[in-house]
């Protein structure tokens, strides 16, 4: 018998799989652009404290609202702080908070979704209803409440954001689990007598993982927007922490004569959102998941 070469494929290590996915993502223009933007932001976030040319909180009234120059690339803001320094450090804040927020969203959303899909029936109904009820409260109001009660520290913001952005993940994880659970390979595993844990770990998670990860990546960009809105309203991180939402909020009144103070954080924020979005899209395509039918909730 001939062994057909097209269909021959070796089992790959996780690393090999990941690099293959990344190559597939980068082979599309939109994926390549998204990845480049995201990687650029991530690198910047890592190195920003070391390359920042100025002290982000050094106030100098004599330098108020300077136009971009060789010394202050993006100019200075109304307190005379360097906009370039604050912009690159602002990316660090936003990425860190939303990255860990997304992890939390993935964790609780994924686990609860799998659980609901698995048990089904009444429990599923009740849990889903509670989740829906909780999240039908406008999130921004709820966030305001939480932040005003507990303060605006990172320790509060990360779990709060993670909680509010996990809802979509619950739905996706639940639907994916529902699809898998009816398959004969689950029946087969149950009939063999595998433990519930083994069935979830070996049979279900590998089959729902991709869908959940893609949803998580999508949620990340939404969370970024949400987080920046909070800061913009003054309920995110507190000054003088460099943060895009705060910077936009502070400088927006000065738009007409000091556009530089507001342009830089806007470009930073929107490019990162677009970058994450394009990457998540390419990620979905590379995994063969069709998101076109599911509108973001």
């Amino acid at each position: 018998m001939k062994v057909d070469n097209i269909y021959k494929e070796e089992k790959k290590s996780a690393f090999a799989k990941l690099s293959e996915i990344i190559i597939t993502m980068a082979s599309r223009p939109s994926g390549l652009i998204g990845l480049s933007i995201l990687v650029f932001h991530i690198i910047l976030a890592f190195i920003s404290p070391y390359i920042a040319p100025h002290d982000f909180k050094a106030i100098d009234p004599t330098l108020m609202l300077q136009a971009p120059s060789a010394e202050y690339w993006f100019g200075t803001d109304d307190l005379g702080r360097d906009v370039f320094t604050r912009t690159i450090l602002g990316g660090r804040t936003a990425l860190t908070i939303t990255f860990f927020g997304s992890l939390i969203a993935l964790l609780w959303g994924g686990l609860l979704g799998i659980f609901c899909g698995l048990v089904g029936g009444k429990i599923d109904d009740v849990v889903m209803r509670i989740v829906d009820a909780f999240l039908s409260i406008p999130w921004i109001l709820a966030m305001l409440l939480i932040v005003s009660l507990l303060g605006t520290s990172t320790e509060v913001l990360i779990p709060a954001l993670g909680f509010f952005y996990g809802k979509g993940i619950v739905r996706v994880a639940r639907a994916a689990t529902h699809d898998v659970i009816a398959k004969d390979f689950i029946v087969s595993a149950r009939a063999r007598g595998h433990s519930n844990f083994s069935i979830i770990w070996n049979e279900i998670i590998p089959n729902v993982r991709d869908a959940i990860l893609v949803e998580g990546a999508m949620r990340w960009s939404w969370m970024l927007l949400g987080f920046s809105s909070l800061s913009f309203l003054g309920f995110g991180v507190s000054p003088p922490t460099p943060d895009w939402g705060l910077m936009i909020s502070n400088a927006r009144g000065l738009m007409s004569f000091a556009y530089w103070a507001v342009i830089a954080p806007i470009v930073g924020l929107s490019s990162l959102i677009i970058g994450i979005n394009l990457t998540a899209d390419a990620f979905a395509k590379a995994l063969g998941i069709d998101r076109s039918t599911k509108a973001p909730v």
Binding site: D4, K8, E9, K183, V187, R190, A191, R192
Partner: protein, 674 residues
């Protein structure tokens, strides 16, 4: 010439692979469809038959494109036509009935309304005429009382009736050419026979040309005047139906006909090795070379051309067809199965009832099941060690339900399931100990669903080995390779994923996984029905071989009586979850039979133009078993009156030890059955 209605000329259709190669799905196909004739296109999945049928109505699936050639209809090339012009032809001149057309009816619109829509679209009749036409069409497809059917919704009809409505809609535009893609696949055996008979009637009555696409030679044999056999995107054989079926002169068709189980033959037919190559993997030479029994060196390097043989009125693509011309007929040999079934009882079901009914709170509290009319009732079967017992019946007859209970996936309502005379298996999974679970393993119908797509073959087979025997490392690996060898798969399969395997290979992996547990009993649920015909016999032979090696007992569920005939020692016939007949397969397949067995036997489609199905009962589908009396009363053509409706029929024994459950005495039963 006017009597050719569709002319396919040098048609090639293909797609571009990721690497940019052009991969052909159809290779240079040429054929003509004549007025009034029915042409059967047969081939296994992936042979290109549907692509060809779609091209015949000017449609090329998304992702594929026409590489060359044309499909001429009324001397214009459909593949180059503007979509506006195509719209005028589709539905009016050429109509198509796709697979599951019945299920594709719009669920919330009445049947009459849907046919009316088709008429508005495809004919120029006014409202009055259309109304008349609707009942005419429903009459033509022989639906009972067209007026009431027209007012029903699709879900109020059975699968067969829905398919009839689909035919009626296709006929709305009085097409000259009707394309049917697997129109009976997925329907019950009995329904299939009825729909085919209807199609035959319509072909004669209206003179419409038909192209009938199917993987099932049995169905093709019943309707076609001419047969086209496709393999790997090529026509390998084309000729008059009778000649193709009786004296196939292409090795593929020859082997295929030899490997299809027949009702008249007890035992396993010869199997054909290998499987159809994937598109784009043929290196040159004949595409059938790997599997051919007649091949020589020449076939390896050169591709045969389709050659028209005037004296046989047949076209064939083979260098060595002459070897086959000499063979007068397909002589089918079977390997008699030699089961050493012992007298020792291995599994005993007594008075087993199973219910799917939702339990009320009170019942839940007391942990009991109350349902007067359970899905499965009064099952008494005694299974001996080493035998193969088959459960047959139409879909919904409770076959899978019984298997689920034996496997512990479903609790029984009443009755006892006993293993090895003393172990009680009436409990469900949670209450069984691991060894009770190990001794019974399941193989499912569709290996695509039963193998985790994210596990490699190695991981799949390792599961039971780790779970039951705690194997690790080298020993685990060695056992896996051993098992793969037993199911005739090489070691290099270990690292493959299910999607990289053909259907037959996947099912072999599923078989290996079941045997990995060293079970005493294997439950086989329709294990060959999702497989291509050419690999079906190979899987059956493999199962038989393993059974002989390991002395395993099989409980084999199938709706295909010919397959059951081939592999089983004993048969139990089920209708609506109640047993009708139980006996040695030799005797069940002989009359006298239970009236329902008679219906099933009559409906079997054989790839032989001389064996026509006998349609004994109506193809109604019943929702639930009757509360009282005989389970088959609703469809029985021999019903003897009130007694059948009130009293459960008694078991009667025939001379050969066959048990039949009917109110008609055995002697009487036989009278009309031969």
């Amino acid at each position: 010439m006017t009597d050719t209605i569709q002319k396919v000329k040098n048609l090639s259709i293909g797609f571009r692979s990721k690497k940019g190669e052009e991969i052909l799905i159809l290779k240079n196909i040429s054929t003509n469809i004549k007025k009034g004739e029915t042409v059967g296109i047969v081939g296994e999945s992936g042979s290109g038959k549907s692509t060809l049928a779609l091209a015949m109505m000017g449609y090329v699936k998304h992702g594929l494109y026409t590489i060359g050639g044309e499909c001429q209809f009324n001397s214009s090339n459909l593949l180059k036509m503007k979509s506006k012009d195509l719209e005028k032809i589709r539905g009016r001149k050429i109509a198509m009935i796709p697979q599951n057309a019945g299920q594709a009816l719009t669920p919330n619109l009445k049947i009459g309304y849907q046919i009316d829509e088709a008429l508005q679209l495809h004919s120029d009749l006014n409202e009055k005429e259309r109304e008349k036409k609707i009942s005419e069409l429903l009459n033509k497809v022989r639906l009972p009382s067209p007026e009431t059917i027209a007012l029903r919704y699709p879900h109020e009809l059975s699968g067969g009736q829905q398919q009839r409505v689909a035919v009626a809609m296709a006929l709305a535009g009085t097409p000259d050419l009707l394309l049917l893609d697997e129109p009976t696949t997925g329907l019950d055996v009995t329904t299939q026979a009825h729909v085919l008979e209807l199609l035959n009637f319509i072909a004669k009555d209206t003179g419409t040309s038909m192209v009938y696409v199917s993987h099932d030679l049995g169905a093709i044999a019943q309707v076609s005047d001419r047969i086209i056999v496709m393999y790997s995107g090529e026509i390998v054989l084309e000729g008059p139906s009778r000649d193709i079926l009786k004296r196939p002169i292409h090795p593929y068709t020859h082997g295929l006909l030899k490997s299809i189980p027949k009702l008249s033959l007890a035992g396993l037919p010869d199997s054909m090795p290998g499987s159809q190559p994937q598109p784009g993997t043929i290196q040159g030479g004949c595409s059938f070379f790997d599997r051919c029994n007649f091949s020589d060196e020449n076939c390896k390097h050169n591709s045969p051309q389709l050659e028209f043989l005037e004296d046989l009125n047949t076209s064939v693509r083979c260098f060595n067809y002459e070897k086959l011309v000499k063979e007068s007929q397909v002589s089918q040999t079977v390997n008699k199965i030699k089961n050493k079934s012992q007298d020792k009882e291995i599994l005993n079901l007594s008075e087993v009832s199973i219910s799917y009914a939702k339990q009320k709170l009170l019942d839940q509290v007391f942990n009991r099941i109350s349902d007067n009319n359970p899905t499965v009732k009064d099952i008494n079967i005694n299974i001996k060690k080493g035998e193969t017992i088959a459960l047959v019946g139409e879909s919904g007859s409770g076959k899978s339900t019984i298997l689920k209970s034996i496997a512990g996936l479903l609790r029984t309502k009443d009755g006892l399931i006993r293993f090895d005379e003393n172990r009680n298996l009436s409990s469900d999974l949670k209450e069984r100990d691991p060894n009770d679970l190990r001794i019974i393993q399941l193989i499912f119908q569709n290996p695509d669903e039963s193998l985790n797509p994210n596990h490699t073959v190695e991981e799949i087979i390792a599961q039971p080995l780790k779970l039951y025997f705690g194997l690790k490392g080298e020993e685990l690996k060695k056992n896996i390779i051993d098992l793969l060898q037993k199911v005739r798969l090489g070691e290099f399969y270990t690292s493959r994923y299910p999607r990289q395997l053909s259907g037959g290979e996947k099912q072999r992996v599923a078989v290996a996984r079941a045997f990995a547990a060293k079970p005493d009993i294997i439950l086989c649920d329709e294990v060959t029905s999702a497989l291509d015909v050419s690999v079906q016999a190979a899987v059956l032979n493999l199962l038989q071989q393993l059974k002989e090696d390991f002395g395993t007992t099989y409980i084999f569920v199938s709706h295909d009586l010919a397959v059951v005939r081939a592999i089983s020692d004993r048969v139990a016939v089920l209708y609506q979850g109640r047993l009708c007949e139980v006996g040695p397969s030799n005797d069940v397949y002989k009359f006298p039979s239970h009236p329902y067995t008679e219906v099933l036997l009559g409906a079997v489609l054989e790839p032989d133009p001389d064996i026509k199905p006998k349609l004994v009962a109506e193809d109604i589908v019943e929702e639930r078993p009757p509360e009282k009396g005989c389970s088959f009363q609703g469809r029985c053509s021999r019903i003897v009156g009130d007694i059948c409706k009130k009293e459960i029929p008694p078991w009667q024994l025939t001379d050969s030890g066959n048990a039949i459950r009917c109110h008609i005495p055995i002697k009487e039963l036989q009278k009309e059955q031969f």
